[in-house]
């Protein structure tokens, strides 16, 4: 039995009425990679923020290296050798790598000596751990993979022996994720202790030594990774058996319902975000668009759904052309049978301060069934919302509740119910399960397959490669605004990963 690096005893933390952590015990062995897994909202991030001193626990004790530790601020944690790589990087975007690394650990009041010292220290860390990054480049010019490296360097520069990584692979390509895992392995060999927070079971199995499962603020189990299975962990996370594999039959593609030809979209700075993209979606099939976030998928969705103006290209919806140059009106497109589940439900899909029933019909509020002369028919709207709540198992089943008070998965169901229940011809779906827990993912995937089997044309954009592979009948890969390849659902992850990383088609085929 290795010695214990960190021991948490009876940690509890509430935010108002919400118990984020209840009486949590956790033991982390030194020199291991320890996974903490759980659904969104299970309290993983809160627990780690307590360990890092970002939040203070209401109750409980923390022992570091066998000694009781008082961690009230991040600087206490740093002093104890704890470093954290946050899910949303804590970097100053317009600072250089060096400036970000020394921030808060500058040493003396004047910068020139601390900068010089940091530069040589960074060189050493880069050499020792293979963490190459140009110390003078500006953060916002760096790809996310490198930004994450800067976060790791920040922690190591502060002398961290215990490194917490919160959902580190969410923004990475499969290749970048593999590289990160190699770095973590190497850090482990150097004797560092690593805590990996994730909701991806595959990562846990691939890299951790031990894994702890959290559910609804409690710690439900800790296992040796070698002695557990994906199925067992999923069940522990959700509290019931989960179907990890989507069951679906053969697709029966019909006529082309959505056709995009030579679509080009530029952003406000005039940079080409979507470059001459053409694609067809037929009735009764799901076309998935894979790609690392930021390769033009969002802009493609925006242009097709009329949110953003396209520079050139044509879109036909059910055989009828869509006017893209005059910024097609999203309401008009809706009326013509295009439903849209936006990527960002908080800012685009929902008005969070509204009641559930209002969001359940927003965008379709001009339809006769919701109106009573010039006024809204409140009774009809609420009855309609209650029906959707029932059908989509939205919890809590209260159509008068403020939308902000629903969990991520249930908010997403509200959007899906609104769009799917309109019986559209074409369904455009962006990131359907981002920030959604495993149980709800299963439900959402099933509903998407149902839509397909009812003969809808479904265009699915997701950064989750697993999701794309299990749902799609055809997979298009986007890189730097272009569609760089098309594959069937049987394509291997490695093959898609190479395409996503921009490796040319010919090379990828080899």
């Amino acid at each position: 039995m290795a010695e214990t690096a960190i021991e948490l005893k009876g940690i509890s933390k509430s935010f108002g009425a919400v118990h984020a952590n209840r009486n949590i015990d956790l033991k982390i062995e030194a020199g291991t990679i320890h996974g903490v897994i759980g659904e969104n909202g299970a309290g993983k991030s809160t627990l780690m923020s307590i360990l890092y001193g970002f939040y203070q626990a209401d109750r409980g004790r923390i022992h570091v290296g066998g000694k009781k530790a008082a961690i009230n601020t991040p600087s206490d944690a740093i002093a104890l050798g704890i470093g954290m790589v946050h899910q949303h990087f804590m970097l100053v975007q317009n600072f250089s790598v060096l400036e970000n690394v020394i921030l808060g650990a500058e040493g003396e009041a004047l910068l020139n000596t601390s900068i010089a010292r940091a530069r040589s220290e960074l060189e050493r860390l880069e050499r020792d751990y293979g963490l190459e990054v140009d110390p003078d480049s500006i953060i916002e010019d760096l790809p996310v993979g490198l930004q994450q490296r800067v976060e790791i360097l920040k922690a190591l520069y502060r002398g961290a022996d215990i490194l917490i990584l919160d959902e580190p692979t969410g923004v990475l390509t499969p290749a970048e994720a593999d590289h990160l895992f190699r770095i973590l392995e190497q850090l482990k060999e150097e004797g560092k202790t690593i805590i990996l927070i994730t909701h991806k079971l595959r990562e846990i199995m691939a890299i951790t030594d031990n894994v702890s499962v959290m559910r609804q603020g409690t710690m439900v189990a800790t296992r040796r990774t070698a002695e557990t299975s994906v199925e067992e962990l999923a069940e522990l996370m959700v509290g019931r058996r989960v179907l990890l594999q989507v069951e679906k039959g053969e697709a029966k593609p019909g006529e082309v319902l959505l056709s995009v030809r030579n679509l080009t979209v530029k952003d406000s700075r005039g940079v080409t975000m979507v470059d001459n993209v053409s694609l067809d979606v037929r009735a009764g099939e799901i076309v998935g668009i894979a790609g690392v976030a930021g390769n033009g998928q969002s802009q493609l969705l925006d242009a097709i759904t009329g949110v953003r103006r396209a520079v050139s290209g044509t879109v036909t919806l059910g055989g009828e052309p869509v006017d893209l140059t005059g910024a097609a009106d999203p309401a008009d497109l809706r009326a013509r049978g295009m439903a849209h589940v936006p990527e960002d439900r908080h800012h685009v899909g929902l008005v969070l301060p509204f009641e559930e029933n209002e969001n359940a019909m927003l965008g379709y509020h001009r339809q006769a069934k919701y109106l009573n002369g010039p006024f809204l028919n409140i009774e009809a709207i609420r009855a309609d919302a209650r029906e959707k709540i029932e059908k989509y198992d939205i919890r809590p089943p209260d159509c008068r509740l403020k939308t902000a008070n629903f969990s991520g998965g249930n908010q997403q169901k509200i959007v899906l119910a609104r769009e799917m229940e309109q019986d559209p011809k074409v369904l455009i779906v962006g990131q359907p399960t981002r920030g959604v827990d495993v149980g709800a993912i299963e439900f959402i995937h099933k509903r998407l397959i149902d839509m397909r089997d009812q003969g809808k044309a479904v265009l699915l954009v997701s950064v989750e490669l697993d999701e794309i592979r299990s749902l799609s009948d055809r997979i298009l890969v986007m890189f730097a605004g272009r569609v760089v390849g098309e594959r069937g659902p049987e394509a291997s992850e490695g093959e898609l990963g190479l395409l996503m990383a921009g490796v040319e088609e010919k090379e990828a085929a080899e």
Binding site: E106, A109, L111, N112
Partner: protein, 323 residues
């Protein structure tokens, strides 16, 4: 030669008119770079001017006036900080409130204490920051051009003027060469990064608004003890807002701030100079137009015609940890 001499005169008054703008804009720079927007520069400057005028009238000392001005401006800056840092209130509302408080209370207190209709008593020379003759200013006066520039333009300003210009490189140095400056810039861009690096966001922002208070106090003192001989009601006359415009115009950078303030000061000086005299081709230019020019230029800049002014990313947003 005559043209040259009037040019020197216009430039000389440009310097005089720029100083309150420069001090106030540098003041705003500290606060806004730390992520605390400050529309209350005007109010703090006005309160500072009043405090300086009142204290100098009572004690007969310009330095006491400066001290009182800094004290009261720092106090108001701390009020703004308390509202917007500790209580995470709306920074615009808090700033506007400070402007109103300053505008009203200076008149009321002035009338209650001195009974001169809201003014402070007219000050004798040694209770003011008078002109400082630089060495040899008299001796070189007759040297053509250079002598004129040295003795008229460079020499003969108050101590506060020279201090203001020295504060420009000093601010640059603080911002870009010290630990405090690095953290200050960071907290205005991404306070969470500062917090997770183990540095207190609140304390950092409080120190920034204290700097703002000190500098607005100097700006106010300049108005009542250097440019004028005492406090007059509403004597800032919108300079705090022009300073804010200059700060935006200069994209929150110290050296450009100086040039923006000199530009706006020049427009002001030029407007005074040409008052009543028609310009060739254009004819008579209304004074109001010249006074509006700084704002017009700033709006044009903000509309994106002259590059892009990107404010500190966390500006105006109170820092709350997630949840």
């Amino acid at each position: 030669m005559d043209f040259f001499h009037s040019l020197i005169l216009v430039l000389d008054s440009t310097v005089r008119l720029s100083i309150p703008l420069l001090l106030a804009a540098l003041a705003g720079l500290y606060s806004e770079r730390s992520g605390v927007f400050d529309i209350g520069l005007e109010g703090k400057m006005l309160a500072g001017a009043f405090a300086a005028g009142a204290a100098a009238a009572v004690t007969g000392s310009a330095w006491a006036g400066l001290g009182a001005a800094m004290l009261i401006s720092v106090f108001l800056a701390l009020v703004h900080g308390f509202a917007s840092i500790t209580h995470r209130g709306n920074q615009i509302v808090s700033g506007v409130a400070i402007n109103f408080i300053a505008a009203g209370s200076t008149i009321i207190l002035g009338q209650a204490w001195f009974r001169q209709g809201g003014r402070t008593p007219s000050l004798p020379g040694d209770a003011r920051f008078g002109a400082v003759e630089l060495p040899f200013a008299g001796a070189v006066r007759d040297v053509p051009i250079l002598g004129d520039i040295y003795s008229e333009l460079i020499s003969g300003h108050s101590l506060l003027t020279y201090a203001a210009f020295l504060l420009v490189p000093f601010t640059w140095w603080v911002l870009f060469r010290t630990r405090f400056g690095l953290r200050l810039r960071a907290v205005g861009e991404n306070p969470a990064a500062v917090d997770t690096a183990g540095v207190s966001v609140s304390w950092l922002r409080y120190r920034a608004v204290i700097c703002t208070g000190i500098l607005t106090g100097m700006a106010g003192t300049y108005l009542s003890l250097a440019q004028n001989a005492g406090f007059v009601k509403d004597m800032t006359a919108g300079r705090g807002f022009i300073a804010l415009a200059a700060l935006i115009f200069a994209k929150w950078k110290p050296v450009p701030v100086m040039f923006a303030c000199l530009l706006f000061g020049f427009l002001d000086a030029f407007a005074i100079r040409i008052q009543g005299t028609p310009l060739p081709l254009i004819g008579q230019v209304p004074v109001q137009f010249m006074q509006a020019l700084p704002y017009i230029l700033t709006v044009v800049l903000l509309a994106g015609f002259i590059g892009k002014a990107v404010p500190p990313r966390a500006g105006g947003v109170p820092y709350v940890k997630e949840r």
